[in-house]
């Protein structure tokens, strides 16, 4: 990810074309467009979702999936009663 660095940018920002002053608009670079595309796409792919041209809510699905996945992993390590019993047995064998 990077801020736009095409011709005519001002401190990494896009600047619009101004016919009155003769100012040219900031050049939109392939690098920047690809960077945005890759950043968004990487999140979606991380969630196990294939990029689909017909869907535009895949980022929302991806973030929700990533949160659910982490919560599920964490709950497996949570100290439920069964988990405590298993831990005690496990360590008791080591001590025993």
């Amino acid at each position: 990810m990077h801020n736009i660095d095409g011709a005519g940018h001002q401190q990494g920002k896009f600047v619009g074309r101004d016919p009155d002053t003769g100012t040219a608009g900031t050049a939109i670079t392939a690098d920047w467009l690809n960077a945005v595309q890759a950043e968004v796409g990487s999140v979606i792919v991380e969630a196990g979702i294939s990029l689909d041209k017909r869907q535009n809510n895949q980022l929302v699905q991806a973030i929700a999936t990533l949160i659910d996945r982490k919560l599920s992993q964490a709950s497996q390590g949570a100290l439920t009663e069964a988990r405590v019993v298993a831990l005690i047995k496990q360590h008791a064998m080591v001590w025993g």
């Binding site: 801020n3 896009f14 619009g16 608009g25 690809n34 945005v36 950043e39 990487s42």
Partner: protein, 306 residues
């Protein structure tokens, strides 16, 4: 963030392509929209402490996964459930959290003080007799005892038949049993001695009615240096067993008494240096005559406590 709102933008803020055939111009790209997209992504990535890097293309993914990881960990670490890796046992908590069972129970301060008082009482001798022997008589019990320390050794001397016979027409007579080797393990231990004795007596009182002979039972300690029994170091000194002999006239054969004395006694005494053997001495004295007795059964055993 906003949807594209430039000229020729779609009614729902969507981008539209131009069409040269119809002369339709494409949606104009605006700096504001590009900046919005850029700022949304850049601000979030930077808010997670990540520096934008043109050479990397997965910084948004890194920011989101890190965000989720830390949020979940923080929530579980302070929430109702605890992650095993995050769980921290409290440094202290009330005893009421602990459930007692039949084998493990709490002791109240009052119970503790009562037990300590009992132990203190039980560990000290309640009295010291003239020979300096320590005895302890618990409440409700008739036999003195001493209940402190660890058993170091057990020693039993057992004689079971006709240990001795004594006859005298007047005055004191005695039976003295053989001395038996016994060596305490420690010079400051306590000896817990149990004596069982069966004595058969026959005699006549020289006095008026209800005059009684007195048996004096001594346990002798033989000193290692002298090699002879020392009466001054006795387990029992002047332990008296009074035997009633009926009669109201002197020298009357009619008032002869024959009886069996069963005697049992336990006592705790301190051990002392040099003891090597222990014996038993029985004396009969009193206003009696023509008396005779013999010990038909006697044993005593010694438990030595630290």
């Amino acid at each position: 963030m906003h949807k594209i709102d430039s000229s020729n933008a779609g009614p729902q803020g969507q981008w539209l392509a131009g069409n040269p055939v119809t002369g339709q111009l494409p949606t104009a790209a605006t700096a504001a929209w590009f900046n919005a997209i850029q700022d949304e992504l850049a601000n979030y990535i930077e808010s997670r402490g990540i520096t934008l890097n043109k050479a990397e293309s997965q910084q948004l993914k890194a920011a989101i996964t890190d965000h989720i990881e830390k949020s979940v960990a923080q929530a579980l670490g302070t929430g109702q459930q605890g992650n095993v890796e995050l769980y921290q046992h409290p440094t202290s908590h009330p005893a009421s959290m602990i459930e007692v069972d039949s084998a493990r129970q709490f002791l109240s301060a009052q119970e503790k003080s009562q037990i300590l008082a009992f132990v203190k009482e039980a560990s000290k001798a309640s009295s010291t007799n003239s020979e300096g022997f320590l005895t302890y008589l618990p409440d409700g019990e008739t036999q003195p005892r001493y209940c402190k320390g660890q058993l170091l050794q057990y020693f039993e001397m057992l004689n079971d038949a006709n240990l001795g016979y004594s006859s005298n027409d007047s005055g004191t007579q005695k039976i003295q049993m053989d001395m038996v080797e016994f060596t305490p393990k420690s010079s400051d231990s306590r000896l817990f001695v149990t004596l069982n004795l069966s004595l058969e007596y026959e005699g006549v009182s020289t006095q008026a009615a209800n005059s009684s002979p007195t048996f004096i039972i001594n346990a002798l300690k033989q000193d290692a240096r002298s090699g002879s029994p020392k009466n001054g170091l006795l387990f029992w000194n002047k332990e008296r067993v009074n035997v009633s002999v009926e009669g109201d006239t002197v020298d009357s054969e009619e008032h002869r008494e024959s009886l069996v004395i069963s005697y049992s006694r336990r006592i705790c005494i301190p051990a002392w240096e040099g003891v090597q053997s222990i014996g038993l001495q029985i004396k009969a004295s009193g206003n009696i005559q023509s008396n005779r007795f013999y010990v038909s059964f006697a044993d005593f055993f010694i438990e030595e406590f630290s």
